[in-house]
Amino acid sequence: MRVSRWSTALAALVLTTTACSGGGESVDVGGSGSGGADASGAQLVAALSAEPDQLDPHKTTAYASFQVLENVYDTLVQPDEQLEMRPALAESWETSKDQLTWTFKLRNGVKFHDGKDFTADDVVYSYERIIDEELSNAYRFESVKNVRAVDDTTVEIEVKRPTPNLLALIGGFKGMAIVSEENVTSGDIGRGPVGTGPFMLDEYVSGDSITLTANEDYWGGAPELGSVQFTFVSEPTVALANLQSGEVQWTDNLPPQQVEALGSDGTIETGVVPSNDYWYFAANQARPPFDDPLVRQALAYGVDREEITEAAKFGLATVNQTAIPRTSQWYYDYAPYSYDPERARQLLDEAGVENLTIDFMVTNEYPETISAAQVMADQLSEVGVKLDIRTEDFATWLDDQAKGNFDAFMLGWLGNIDPQDFYYAQHHSDGANNYQKYSNPEVDRLLDQAGQETDDEQRQELYNQAVEIIVDDASYIYLYNPDVVQGWAPELKGYTVRPDRAIRFHQASLSE
Amino acid sequence: MSAEVSSPAESVLSVRDLTVRFATRRGVATVVDDVSWEVAAGETLAIVGESGSGKSVSALAVMGLLPTPPARVQGQVWLEGSDLLQASPQERRRTRGRRLGMVFQDPMTSLNPFLTIGKQVSEGVEHHLGLHGSELRDRAVELLGLVGIPAPADRLDEHPHQFSGGMRQRVMIAIALACEPQVLIADEATTALDVTTQAQIIELLGRLQEDMGMAVVWITHDLGVVAGIADRVSVMYAGQVVEEAPVDALYADPRHPYTQGLLGALPVIGGHGRELATISGLPPDPLQMPPGCRFWPRCTRRLDARCEHEPPTMWEVGPGHRVRTFYDTAREGSR
């Protein structure tokens, strides 16, 4: 599964064309929330690195939006800090014997921020909206046949085939939030979302800040904080300066090269946790000579992951030759490659390739791809391979990627939880995101099978087999899993950094 | 008009050995070179010469209106016993407009287009004489009336562009006379005007001079104008005075070939209808003055090599009549 700005442009453009017809009146989200924000608690100011594009959880793909929405919306289930799925709006669930029906028992007495009761119909509406409008998360319901409300507090989901990762699919992030139909039809959701979460939207000042106030009626208990203001600061050094001067109390936009030093001086607390994201590069197997596994393996030997990681992430990442991080229960320790220019040259010789020049696509949306590419270019020049770096803005990049207009590219996947999400779409012959055009019947078979396997140990075994082949074939050349890095003022208590990058201020408080 | 020569003792303004140099990109240009003249109360001195002869620059130097740098002024300018060139900038400023008035050539550009006529006429009075309010206004009206502007009170609040050229020059005169100065310098004051207006202005100035008894320095390139108004004439060429004389003597007996050329160039009303004599050639470049007589390259009667190499000095050829030549070249066959 993917949270992310990954497909920002795609979704945004689809959204436009639909939004065009809807027209758009400006939305007043001004101060008078219905819940009656008694600003008893303190205000936390949090600096985000970017401004949300919009606040409709089903339509946005921007990480910044989800940082805000994480605190506004709920999903049926949600991952805990170990990324295990826990009850949220659903108190409990069970699956039928044949694994084809999931029944969710909903929490009683939950209200939306506008005071309306939360019921099973809201769940059905939300899911159907995603499916029917073919929003960008519709693929998560690919195996879902039907969603229906049995009664006010019971929802039943029928699936076409056993879907062991269904909980991760519907609860992995707030893109699967339960929204209010009125809020959608009124058109307010883009700027004035109404959810069931611990905070509710108070004010949105375009270009400047979004302020949330505590939802005193939150089903999980009223938050300690009175309000949270998200400001947008794109420069990490500026964000840090703001944190140091006390203007903000939390940010995830720290200059990476300074994190190590910051941890030690005590004026700022930093949290560094391995994330579930991974970064990789891939060669276009539809184009010779990259159709030859030897060439791809040569590339895998020709890059020094340690150096790339150090250069691009300042050590705030862990080198990995597979996708799933060490911290995950699904981690599989498989690392056949080492930095070996000699071996790389040999492999290229074997493949009969000389003077290889690679048209390598990176995007300024993710500057680490540019840094890493420059390091790789330097390393690969040792092997006699010339890396021509092509930097594009993300929309063009995506377009070229979809058209297969590249020799190789580098990017990352963010926020996956279930192994199926780590491997299927990327490496299955029919995978939606198999842009590198990898096709191996054995991998297809293993992934198909693993996707329906309900026994965790069996699944793990199947994935391990698939991963070995994928890595050996160098379908992706995996580089590293980055850390989640956040910093906050020491007064901020009760806040934890999570590997899925979800920032939750429900339990947080400011001591003074 | 009197042909008497005023003695220095009587003169109100006396310029001695005035030299003005300009620093330019290509070197130092001497634009006014050792010029001396003087003028007494009630007297009119005309300084005549082609454009570029240094006559206007010398007047500006007297007024203290030359920007320094690039200009450098040397010599003496005596105004009733004190040398203005030695005076402090404040003292100089206090003489300007108060004791020395000046009327410029172009009435179209010499008035500030943004201010009312009343303001421009009265600001000197206000500053020097400390008049205010209605007193000031009355003075402005009086001045405008004095220079012959009809319905002066009504025109006080108008702007220069609402005035004709002749009227504007009258305003300029009103400005120059506002504090009843001892000396009025009129720099080509009628050149930009049509003939009828010219005559009116000349007549006006003559009348005002008589009333106020001031000295007038009349700077012009037009010898025709000079004849009617000047007591004495000083002819300038290439930064030097080449001839000076009482007006009648000059007309009757011009001694310098340049003066003769100028007089020859004058259209004679009702004359013989002969072709105008002109002086061929151009004045010398102030950066590269000829070593000898400055007029030598254009002179019709260069006599010998001395003219070319040695600068001539002034010498007296008659009472109050001095000329800068080596040889007395009294005109044969004067008119």
């Binding site: 250069a311 420059q374 | 300009f22 330019t24």
Partner: protein
């Protein structure tokens, strides 16, 4: 002055005038320094890669963030590359962008200005109104918009900057053409049946050159500045190609630990632009007769 100009053949004073211009420029000591800086830049642009002590893309991650020293005059950047080498080699990009972009606006602007000024009438109206429209955008904004359309990159940045500065040349050229169009020698040439092209080339163009040369020099400064700004915004030169603006863009996140990453490329831009400005100013003083006349007319009565 104008009398002399019109009585002589327009080609004649050119050599003498050029010599005088040069002398006047040289007389200005500041301008000499400016010229020396520009000469150094040209050398850097031509031989930068040979002169650079390190490869511009030689990455040594262990050596990152080295402060300036004898080994690394300007220190090293976040990938351990030698900043001095990169600054040196980037001179080429800056000069290249400056030259080509201004070349584009020069050719386009002068052509449009000549045509508009020479033919007048409706052509003039249409051309100059379009120029007005381009002029109504803040330059950098227009360049950004053009780059948004063309996509970021060196070539597109040059085109964008070229378009942005076209109206200035068109305006200046047109104004000069208007002032010489009715001069005696032009009318004379026209009366003996010279073709429009010949008139433009032989009689009008040489006489409008001075202000255009001045503008060219000044525009070079601003084109270099624009390229740096665009690269700084991530829209111009793309890595790994070094460019001063891009180096600032990459360095601004590290400014606190590695001030040299932000200071030296910025200084390079500043010094270059300053040099072009000073030389341009000196040329204006030397070439623009209007300026000269202000000083010299005071020498005449």
């Amino acid at each position: 002055m104008s009398d002399q100009a019109s009585s002589q053949a327009p080609e004649a004073p050119a050599a003498e005038q050029r010599f005088q211009t040069l002398r006047a420029v040289l007389a200005n000591r500041l301008a000499v320094v400016g010229l020396l800086v520009l000469a150094a830049l040209v050398v850097a642009a031509l031989f930068g890669p040979q002169l650079a002590p390190y490869g511009i893309n030689a990455i040594e991650v262990e050596d990152r963030f080295q402060s300036p020293s004898l080994d690394h005059l300007f220190g090293t950047d976040e990938l351990g590359r030698d900043v001095f080498s990169r600054v040196l080699v980037a001179a080429r990009v800056s000069l290249q962008v400056g030259a080509i972009a201004v070349g584009i606006s020069l050719v386009a602007g002068v052509t449009l200005g000549l045509v508009a000024g020479f033919y007048g009438g409706r052509i003039d109206d249409v051309v100059m109104r379009v120029m007005d429209m381009l002029f109504a955008f803040p330059a950098i904004l227009l360049a950004i918009a053009i780059l948004a359309v063309l996509g970021p990159g060196l070539t597109n940045a040059m085109i964008a900057i070229g378009i942005v500065y076209t109206p200035i040349f068109a305006r200046i050229c047109r104004a000069s053409v208007l002032s010489v169009r009715e001069e005696v020698f032009v009318r004379a040439a026209r009366s003996i049946g010279a073709s429009d092209f010949r008139l433009l080339r032989l009689h009008i163009l040489p006489n409008v050159l001075a202000p255009i040369i001045v503008q060219t020099s000044l525009s070079l400064a601003f084109a270099i500045l624009s390229e740096a700004a665009l690269s700084f915004l991530g829209l111009g030169v793309q890595p790994p190609q070094p460019s001063w603006g891009r180096m600032l863009f990459d360095g601004r996140g590290f400014i606190e630990q590695a001030w040299w990453m932000g200071v030296f490329p910025g200084l390079a831009i500043f010094v270059t632009v300053l040099a072009f400005n000073i030389v341009g100013d000196a040329m204006r003083d030397a070439l623009d007769p209007k300026q000269r006349s202000v000083i010299e007319s005071r020498g005449q009565s």
